[in-house]
């Protein structure tokens, strides 16, 4: 047993971090939230060049995968940099179509793996960023639907995550195979959302620790106060113990591990957001500070693809 990333996987994380740092992701996320998807799609293409969107798709179908550990490494990096877009949904749609095979797989898997197409997949009634996507998939029972379009966009708490209720469209596949493939896709969505939440939480903690070392009140750095220290320590503990759950789920891909990873990483990312907001104080409550991009996303990622309560129910019942 060697439950550690290898050198190549670490290098992959480092190169993604370098590329994303240079890309100015906060500006990209702000444009995305304003409905200007151009910078986001340009960044999407660069992420695709790193192979990220090929990781959930098997080699035989145009991808590099399935490589769930590498996918986790990549999505943790995407979370750290608050990259906008239907990242989880594109990976999940790829896994769904790859499992189903046939005509829709042949039509979409190559463009998805290469980043030429962006897909979304409805999670319950809503699809994320459908108006920015080239393909909007909806699964209802045994039916796979390729929706006609986004449908009306609903205002959301995180403006960089636009939700809409896709309507109509063709039915490229139906039957029990759709249900089974969708269950597999949900597992992959949980893994990639958990990884993103973990990376998001790490970035929030890093920014908040830096602020606590800098910000002075009562004549000293606020990071020297025990109440602040302990809150930051608790956030680190939550992230440090969520991380092995996320990577463990990538290794086993077992439903129970995927649910545990999603619940723990979602909660840890959200705890990091609450901590970041509280330690920053009023400046943290502003839209102007880039921190807001991470804070808003934390709650949404916690609840996407299975709320913690939903995941816990699956674990207890197993």
């Amino acid at each position: 047993m060697r439950f550690l990333l290898d050198d190549e996987q670490r290098q992959f994380a480092t190169s993604l971090d370098e590329m994303l740092s240079a890309a100015g992701t906060p500006g990209v996320a702000r444009s995305w939230a304003a409905g200007d998807f151009g910078p986001g799609r340009a960044l999407w293409a660069r992420i695709a060049d790193s192979g990220v969107f090929a990781l959930a798709i098997p080699e035989a179908q145009g991808g590099l995968g399935p490589l769930p550990v590498e996918l986790t490494v990549a999505y943790e990096a995407l979370g750290r940099h608050a990259v906008p877009g239907p990242l989880v949904e594109t990976a999940a749609a790829g896994a769904l179509l790859a499992r189903l095979g046939g005509e829709p797989a042949a039509a979409w898997l190559h463009p998805l793996a290469e980043g030429k197409a962006v897909a979304t997949l409805a999670d319950g009634p809503y699809a994320l960023d459908a108006d920015a996507a080239d393909a909007v998939f909806v699964v209802e029972g045994e039916t796979l639907r390729l929706a006609d379009g986004a449908g009306p966009v609903q205002p959301t708490l995180d403006p960089a995550r636009q939700l809409s209720r896709p309507r109509g469209g063709a039915v490229p596949a139906d039957g029990p195979a759709v249900t089974a493939a969708y269950a597999h896709a949900v597992g992959l969505a949980r893994l990639s959302a958990a990884a993103q939440a973990l990376g998001l939480g790490r970035a929030l903690l890093t920014q908040t620790v830096a602020y606590a070392k800098e910000r002075r009140q009562f004549g000293t750095e606020i990071g020297s106060f025990q109440v602040i220290k302990h809150r930051l320590a608790d956030t680190l503990i939550a992230l440090e113990f969520a991380q092995p759950l996320v990577y463990g789920a990538a290794v086993t891909m077992a439903d129970r591990d995927l649910a545990a990873a999603k619940a723990a990483a979602g909660e840890a990312g959200y705890l990091a957001a609450r901590t970041a907001l509280q330690v920053h104080g009023a400046i943290g409550y502003t839209e102007e500070l880039d921190l807001s991009l991470w804070i808003r996303k934390a709650r949404a990622l916690r609840d996407a693809w299975g709320t913690p309560a939903h995941c816990r129910a699956a674990i207890a019942a197993a």
């Binding site: 047993m1 060697r2 990333l5 025990q226 220290k229 092995p244 759950l245 723990a264």
Partner: protein, 389 residues
């Protein structure tokens, strides 16, 4: 990155499981925190030792199997899953022995480790003093140089199982001048018999009513030179180099929490899966799995020459708070029966939640309070500035 066991590890697991199935007492032993229970647990250590299961990770020369960290984790998982008795020798095995392996002499290891492995000599720790708890370096008990050894005087306290143990180990101030520069200078790590002339052990009833911890009064107690560990004056460094063992994975293996979480889930199923407890049961299962996987990652880092260091403070806070939440959930699930002690006639057949609950309450206090651990996490892992405690 993988979570696969080797064929040899699987065989080790099978051997441990078979041995435990054949030897674990069918009815639980009386509490090891009582005199009678202590004696029964000492016998159990002998049984473990006879087939070389008492200290699996030690070299064969001292009674072990030279098991790897992964094999030790497997053994612990099987041990707790089998519902085997608590380990009365734990203070010696998990705290003193690592110190002897790192800083002791060959003579000390040959003399001290085999009787520790067999339970013939059970060790207590003597760290805290009335004025030195979280601030351990404030300790005032002294060691004064004498012909052929040292003379110890002072008072130690909160010494777990000292009323029934044979020997103790702790830190003593041997150079009061050095302490004027920094309080953790001039300390010396020494071992002493609890029945030596000048030693008085006064049992203290614990929160669970058991007389299992004690104060130790030392009045000019002679300790020969052979019972010092490391160099005089270097005691703090010697003690802290293995402090991670107490906080971390070698004191509280994941197996313990995996077994408790599985028992909790069974209890919840038996009670008809009340919805209001579902989240808490799931959190216990998630927490135990997280601790298991965290430990596998730590074991892999150690196998590659890494060190745990301040990371053990993450462990300490995590397992101690998990343990309390898990036991609280069990008591809540038991409803009115949750108030009963394990020995009560009416105690539920599932048993053994009450003692575990009371024991869990001590977790955030011993081995460095969780508040001290959070300070360590904040300062050493996050790099925040030091401040007033």
């Amino acid at each position: 990155m993988d979570l696969a066991f080797t064929a040899a590890e699987d065989a080790f697991r099978a051997e441990a499981r078979a041995w435990l199935a054949a030897h674990v007492p069918a009815t639980p032993l009386p509490s090891l925190e009582t005199e009678a229970g202590f004696a029964r647990h000492r016998e159990w250590e002998r049984t473990l030792h006879a087939d070389r299961w008492s200290v699996v990770s030690w070299p064969a020369a001292y009674g072990g199997r030279a098991a790897s960290l992964t094999e030790w984790l497997i053994f612990e998982e099987e041990y707790y899953a089998a519902g085997a008795p608590g380990r009365v020798g734990q203070n010696g095995i998990s705290l003193l022995a690592p110190t002897l392996f790192a800083h002791g002499t060959d003579e000390q290891r040959a003399r001290i480790l085999p009787p520790m492995a067999s339970g013939e000599v059970v060790w207590a720790q003597a760290w805290s003093e009335p004025g030195a708890g979280s601030d351990l370096a404030a300790l005032r008990s002294t060691a004064v140089r004498t012909e052929g050894g040292w003379r110890l005087s002072g008072q130690k306290t909160w010494s777990s199982r000292a009323p029934f143990a044979d020997r103790a180990f702790g830190l003593f101030r041997s150079d009061p001048e050095a302490a004027k520069e920094k309080p953790h200078r001039g300390l010396t790590y020494l071992m002493f018999p609890l029945d030596a002339e000048g030693v008085t052990v006064r049992p203290i009833g614990r929160l669970d009513g058991k007389p299992a911890f004690a104060e130790i009064f030392l009045d000019d107690v002679f300790v020969p030179d052979e019972d010092i560990i490391g160099e005089p004056g270097q005691g703090w460094r010697v003690a802290m180099s293995t402090a991670g063992n107490e906080r971390g994975l070698t004191l509280r293996s994941p197996g313990r929490f995996m077994a408790s979480a599985a028992r909790l889930q069974s209890l919840w199923h038996e009670q008809g899966e009340p919805a209001e407890f579902r989240d808490r049961v799931a959190d216990a299962l998630i927490g135990a799995r997280a601790y298991e996987l965290f430990t596998h990652a730590a074991a892999a880092r150690l196998a590659e020459g890494g060190e745990l260091g301040a990371e053990s403070s993450l462990n300490k806070v995590f397992w101690s708070e998990l343990d309390i939440r898990l036991h609280e959930t069990a008591l809540d699930l038991l409803g009115p029966y949750g108030q009963l002690a394990d020995g009560a006639d009416d105690a539920p057949a599932h048993g053994a939640w009450a003692e575990g609950y009371t024991f869990s309450l001590a977790g955030p206090i011993y081995a460095g309070t969780n508040e001290i651990q959070r300070d360590i996490i904040a300062e050493r892992l996050l790099g925040l500035p030091k401040g007033r405690r």
